[in-house]
Amino acid sequence: MNALWTVFRKELLDAMRDRRMVMMAMVIGPLAGPLILAGVSFFGAMKQKEKIESVLELPVIGAQQAPNLMAWLESHSLKIVAPPSDPDAAVRNQQHEVILRVTDSFAADWRAGRPAQLELIYDSSRPLQTGTSIARLRNLLEAYDQELGTLRLVARGIHPAVARPLLVGARDVATPQSKFDFAQQLLPYLLLLLGFIGGMQVAIDATAGERERHSLEPLLATPASRSAIISGKILATAVFTLLSLVVTLLAFRLVFGLLPTDKIDMSIDLPWGTLAQLLLVILPIVLLGATLLTALAAFAKSHREAQGYLPLLTFLPMIPTLLLMVSPVKTQLWMLAVPFLGQNQLILKVLRGESISLVEWLLNLLSGLLIAGILWLVATRLYHREQLAASS
């Protein structure tokens, strides 16, 4: 226990004196995530808002058939322009987001009181770019439809309510936090990745690095047990990662707090309670990562070989996020016991401001700690092997 503590303190001191490593883990890394995420989210939201408020250019085929409709649309910040010669092609190659066609029989139908036909030409395979404009035009046309319908009923002495047996109201239960969905997709992955491999450099330096610099053999010649030595190194890696994680969470709070949320109608503040919960969720992943990294790096012959595992490990926390993107599923209790998947779900819950039951907490934390514990046992066993020290 004493030796473990000694090794832990020395490794942490050693890591903290490595300026490049500290700079990466405590400054650049923690700032990069929130800045990129906040920047992208913010500009995305601004862009969308701009689209809703700006004047939409709408090419109309056969505009002369419906002068009143055109006038009404123009009064609702649409600008009617002349149609291109090949409307379908123009939409397909993104010259126009949406084109309105007024059918030839429109004027005649209108006067006869028959439904007069309009046609929207758009490309549904690009919902992100064109969705806002299409929805805006549809809403306007629907509003016009209703307005005129009501007037016609009134003109015939019928109460407009007769034609509207249903009144559908909508109540959106999304909290302002849960609206921030782009950040929501990426934040769990970013945090899990950092928690998992944030201590990579420390782990490599303390094991493969120690061997490479020829200081492992003298260390193993002291009475300190090998289990204590590797445990101290694992602990140092975990604490270093945890520090980096805390700084990152603070950076998220700071950066998101600075965003002018009043302009984009989204609340993304991370109160202290949320930060603490996030830290607790990620803790087992930190231990898991520190143990796995230390064990892997201990058997790598060099720094370089140890770093070769990096891409593979980066992919691990991504798996649940990818799975959930492809087929979103309702959270089942058993999922919380699966590493990464469980943390992913819990982080989402925390970010959405949903309550998490004690059972969910315990299941997630205990399974994570159990797996980390098993890995730690394997790592200490492996560290007793003879080939470990006798490298030269």
């Binding site: 020829h214 200081s215 003298p218 002291t222 009475p223 003879e386």
Partner: protein, 248 residues
């Protein structure tokens, strides 16, 4: 006292099995300097690694002050001061921090560590670089730091694997004086070398190893008598069977 009793160790190298150490036995007594002499690749480092429990022998046993290394390796390591062939130090720590780290690993309390460092720094002439971070140290400064680190717990038995490797003449001379000082304090000093002159000059007892076996052992006089020559150099060449790798 360090006793090696019929030690053997072999490694798999590709398809062939290499017998690095093949039945080595000797004794290194307290108050004496024992030299393990042999050409490169003779099995010196492997033998020493078994003594300080880094490797387990396939046969035979190691006793340090009567303690069996297989039964209680931690206690054997506690009674040994080891300067291995690999002697890297931590470059982001100062020389003092490097030595103190090992003192704590040996379970010493801070006051005792401070006192030991003060003593060792004087004996090894380390005071002008003791508080500096070791990055950029000369080979001599690094070796001195590594030796101080190996001896911080005041061990009765000292094992040094090629201690003068890479050192300049001045540092080598001061290291020799230091080893003689350890002997005068009644410790058991065992060191390996492939440099015959060094062993001849310093050792009370010499164990000559070649191809993993002990080919001769005893005082310098014993070895001269055994080989039947009055010249120690000729005697070594004769017992080893070749002069390859014996001259610095």
């Amino acid at each position: 006292m360090i006793e090696a009793d019929n030690l053997s160790k072999s490694f798999q190298a590709g398809r062939t099995r290499v017998h690095a150490v093949d039945g080595v036995s000797f004794r290194a007594l307290d108050g004496e300097i024992t030299g393990l002499l042999g050409p490169n690749g003779a099995g010196k480092t492997t033998t020493l690694r078994m003594l300080y429990t880094l490797m387990a022998p396939q046969s035979g046993r190691v006793l340090v002050d009567g303690v069996d290394a297989a039964a209680d390796p931690a206690r054997v390591r506690a009674n040994l001061g080891v300067l291995p062939d690999a002697r890297g130090i931590y470059k982001r720590l100062t020389a003092r921090e490097n030595v103190a780290y090992f003192g704590r690993l040996h379970g010493l309390d801070p006051a005792l560590i401070e006192a030991r460092i003060t003593g060792l720094a004087t004996a090894l002439d380390m005071n002008d670089f003791l508080e500096r971070r070791t990055e950029g140290f000369s080979q001599g400064q690094r070796t001195k730091t590594a030796i101080a680190r190996a001896l911080v717990h005041d061990p009765r038995n000292v094992i040094l694997d090629e201690p003068t490797n890479g050192l300049d003449v001045m540092t080598t001379r001061s290291l020799r004086r230091f080893l003689l000082g350890l002997r005068a304090e009644g410790r058991c000093v065992l060191f390996s070398s492939h440099i015959m002159q060094e062993v001849a000059q310093l050792c009370d007892r010499i164990v000559v190893i070649a191809r993993g076996r002990v080919v001769a052992s005893g005082t310098p006089d014993d070895i001269r008598a055994m080989a039947g020559t009055s010249n120690l150099e000729d005697a070594f060449v004769k017992v080893i069977g070749t002069d390859e790798g014996l001259f610095a």
